[in-house]
Symmetry: C2
Subunit: 393 residues, 2 copies
C-alpha cells in the first residue's frame, strides 16, 4: 500500500458552524448580504469582473479612510498583515521607529519592526489613557524617528488615541505617521488626508462586518515618495507596496499578477463596504457612538467600573474591570453556553484584568446593547452571586 | 462639510459575478458544497468550533501531503505566502539557497529569497524539461546550499519535476528540500515523508477547488530543528512557523492568538479537503492523469504541439505552443466571450509562447476535457482560419 497516511475519519463528519452573537472585540457578525455574496462562483484573479470589484472596493476604501490617495488597496491577509506591510514598506535596517504604546498593539508592532531591522523606541501612555500631543512631541524630539506608529483604537485596553495635529507634528519633524484603525474605523471619526496620516490599515471583520482575511489600506504621497527613495528592496514580496499597488491598478501602470486574490473575500468585503456607504460614514459613526454611550450608562448603572479613562474611550470596544473575586473566564463561558453570546476577556497587558465587549457593525444597535448588558450582568451574578461591585447589579 | 471624500456611486450598483468555466491554471471552479459552506456565519478565531475545523483541516492536509509532520497547518495568505513562509523560516542572511528553475516559479522564489538576504544560486532545466537527479547532484556539490527549492509542477511551463531521490540527496549534502506543490498536489503523486521533503505548501484553489487565500503547508522535523537553531528571529511575524504552529496547535503547547483567521476560508477549505478525502488520493490523482492523457490526445489529433517534453508533463496544467500567426490573446478572448470558458496564455518565460489549459478538481472530467478541446479548437480556427499547424483542426 503506497498511501501510508490514511484519510482521516473526522472529515467524514459534517461541518458544524453554530450561529453566535459576536459581542467580543471582533470578528463581528456579518450581515446576511455579505454572507450570501461569499457563496457566489469563484472568479480568476485578473478577470475584468474581478478587477471591477477591486476598483469598487478601492473607491469605497478611499471614502472610509477619507482620502484621495492613489495607493489605496487591500492586502490578502488579516489585519496583522496590514501592520507588517506598513512597517515593512516604510522602514529599512537601522531606521528609528517610535511606537506610541497604548496597549497590546504597541507590543505587537514593536516586535514586527524589530524583525525588520528597525531601531525601535517606545513612548508609553498611562494605564487606560491615550498619549497627549505633548507626550508625542517630546518623544519625537527625543528619538528623532523616521516613522511614528500609533493605534487609533487599541482593542486590548479600549483606549482611543487622538490623532488631530499628530500628522502635522510628525511632518514638521521629518517623520511619517502610521495609524492602525483595525478596531476603530467606522466607529469613530478618521480623516486620513486632513490629519496627514501617511499609512493606514483597518480590519474587515470589525465595524465593516466582512470576513477576516482581507485588509484595506492606504499610503499617502509622502509614504510613496519614501518608498521610492528606499536604498534596499522591501524585504517581503507579499507586502511590497509597488507590486500590490500595481495589481490593484493604483499607479496608472498596467495591472500585474502579484498573487491570486480571494474572489470570495472580495465579494464579502465589497458588499460590506457598500452597506457602509449606503448608511454613510457620519450615520455609521454616530450609531456606534450612541450605542457605546448606552453601554457605558448601563454598565455603570449596574455598578461596573470601566477600564479606559472617560475621555479616552473607544466606542467599538469597551473594557470593563473584572470585579474582585470574579473569574472572568467563567463569566464568558456562562454567556456563551447559556446564550451563545460572546463576551471576551483581556489581551496582552489587560489579560485577566478586564472584560471586553464589542459593538461593531450590525451589532451596534440599541437592542444588542441591551441584550449584551442583560447577558453580561446575569453571567457575573451567576458566577459570583456575592460579587462586591460598586453599585447594584 | 466635514466628509470631503464622498460615497462612491459604483457601490450603489449590484455585485456582478458571472459563472464561468475556469479551464486556466487556476483558480478552478469550486464545488457547490464548498461555495455553500462559505455563506455560513462567521466564528471567532479561537472559538472551540473554529479550532475543531482547523484540527480537521490539519488531519486532511497530512493525508494530502502523505506526512505525519506535527508542523502541518495553513497560512492565511495565497500560495505566494506559502512560498515566502518556507524560504523565510529556513533562511538567514547569507545562507546559500539553490533554486531549481523549471519556469516562472524559479524566478519568483529567487526574488523572495534575495529579499530575505540569502545568497541565491540557480540550476536551470532545458526548455520544457525538468531537472534530472544528476543535474541536481552536480549543483548541490557545486553550490553547497543549505536549502534547495523545487517546484513540483511549474504552472508557467507545464513541467513536472521528479522528486524521488532528491530528498535523500539533499540530506546527504546537509541541505533541506522545499517543494512547491501549488499546481500539482492531488493531480500527481506526492509523498512528503517517503521522499524526505522538508517544507511544502500547496494551493487551495487548484485541484482542491477551495477559494484562494488560505495555504496548506507542512514542515518536517528536520525543518523544525533548523528553525530552532536559527541565530536570528524570522524576519516576518506573519510567516513565523513557531507562532502559526502554536495557533494551529501543532507543538503540544497552548493555542495562541497569532492573527484572526478567516472562518469563511476555513469552511470552504475544510469541505474541499473532505471531498478529496471522500474520493481518496489515488482515485483523485488517477482522474487527473486520465483526463490529461485525453487532453493530450485530443490536442495532438487536432495538430497542436505541446510545449512540455512528453516525459515531463504536469497533468493539471497543459502548455500548448501558440501556432505561427495566431494571436493567443484573441483566442482566449473568443473562448471567454463566446462560451464563458477560460483558457490562458503563458506566464513569465512562456508569455506569448503558449496557451495553458488547466484540468483541476471538478474540472478534471471527460466531459470538460471534451468541452475545452471543442472550444479551444473552434477559437483558434475562428481567430485564424488559415492557421498552419502540423495536422488538421
Amino acid at each position: 500500500m503506497e498511501y501510508k497516511v490514511t484519510s482521516p475519519a473526522v472529515l467524514r463528519e459534517p461541518l458544524v458552524v453554530p450561529d453566535k452573537l459576536l459581542m467580543g472585540p471582533g470578528p463581528s457578525n456579518a450581515p446576511q448580504r455579505v454572507l450570501d455574496a461569499m457563496s457566489k462562483p469563484i472568479l480568476g484573479h485578473l478577470h475584468p469582473e474581478t478587477l471591477k470589484i477591486m476598483d469598487d472596493i478601492k473607491e469605497g476604501v478611499r471614502y472610509l479612510f477619507q482620502t484621495t490617495n492613489a495607493a489605496t488597496f487591500c492586502l490578502s491577509a488579516s489585519g496583522h498583515g496590514g501592520m507588517e506591510a506598513t512597517l515593512c514598506n516604510l522602514l529599512e535596517d537601522g531606521d528609528v521607529v517610535l511606537i506610541g504604546h497604548t496597549g497590546h498593539w504597541g507590543d505587537r508592532s514593536a516586535d514586527m519592526a524589530t524583525r525588520y531591522g528597525a531601531d525601535v523606541r517606545t513612548v508609553k501612555s498611562k494605564v487606560g489613557q491615550s498619549l497627549s500631543l505633548e507626550d508625542i512631541r517630546t518623544a519625537l524630539v527625543q528619538h528623532k524617528p523616521s516613522v511614528l506608529f500609533l493605534t487609533q483604537g487599541d482593542s486590548s485596553t479600549g483606549v482611543l488615541q487622538g490623532l488631530e495635529g499628530v500628522g502635522a507634528l510628525c511632518h514638521a519633524n521629518n517623520c511619517l505617521l502610521i495609524v492602525d484603525t483595525v478596531a476603530s474605523l467606522g466607529g469613530t471619526p478618521f480623516f486620513m488626508d486632513r490629519w496627514e496620516v501617511d499609512a493606514v490599515y483597518t480590519g474587515s471583520q470589525k465595524v465593516l462586518g466582512a470576513p477576516p482575511g482581507i485588509t484595506p489600506m492606504s499610503f499617502s504621497h509622502r509614504a510613496v515618495e519614501r518608498f521610492k527613495s528606499r536604498n534596499t528592496k522591501v524585504k517581503v514580496y507579499y507586502w511590497d507596496m509597488a507590486l500590490v499597488g500595481d495589481y490593484w491598478g493604483c499607479f496608472g501602470r498596467p495591472r500585474i499578477y502579484h498573487h491570486t486574490i480571494s474572489a470570495t473575500l472580495l465579494y464579502g468585503l465589497r458588499e460590506a463596504i457598500a452597506l457602509a456607504c449606503e448608511e454613510s460614514l457620519p450615520t455609521l459613526i454616530a450609531r456606534h457612538q450612541d450605542c457605546a454611550q448606552r453601554l457605558y450608562r448601563g454598565l455603570e448603572a449596574a455598578g461596573f467600573e470601566l477600564y479606559a479613562n472617560s475621555k479616552d474611550r473607544l466606542a467599538t470596544v469597551t473594557t470593563i474591570k473584572v470585579p474582585q473575586g470574579v473569574d472572568w473566564l467563567k463569566v464568558a463561558q456562562y454567556a456563551m453556553k447559556t446564550y451563545m453570546v460572546e463576551i471576551s476577556g483581556g489581551l496582552g497587558p489587560t489579560a485577566g484584568q478586564v472584560f471586553r465587549i464589542g459593538l461593531m457593525g450590525q451589532n451596534a444597535t440599541t437592542e444588542r446593547v441591551d441584550r449584551v448588558l442583560q447577558v453580561f450582568t446575569e453571567a457575573v451574578k451567576s458566577v459570583q452571586p456575592n460579587v462586591q461591585i460598586k453599585g447594584k447589579i
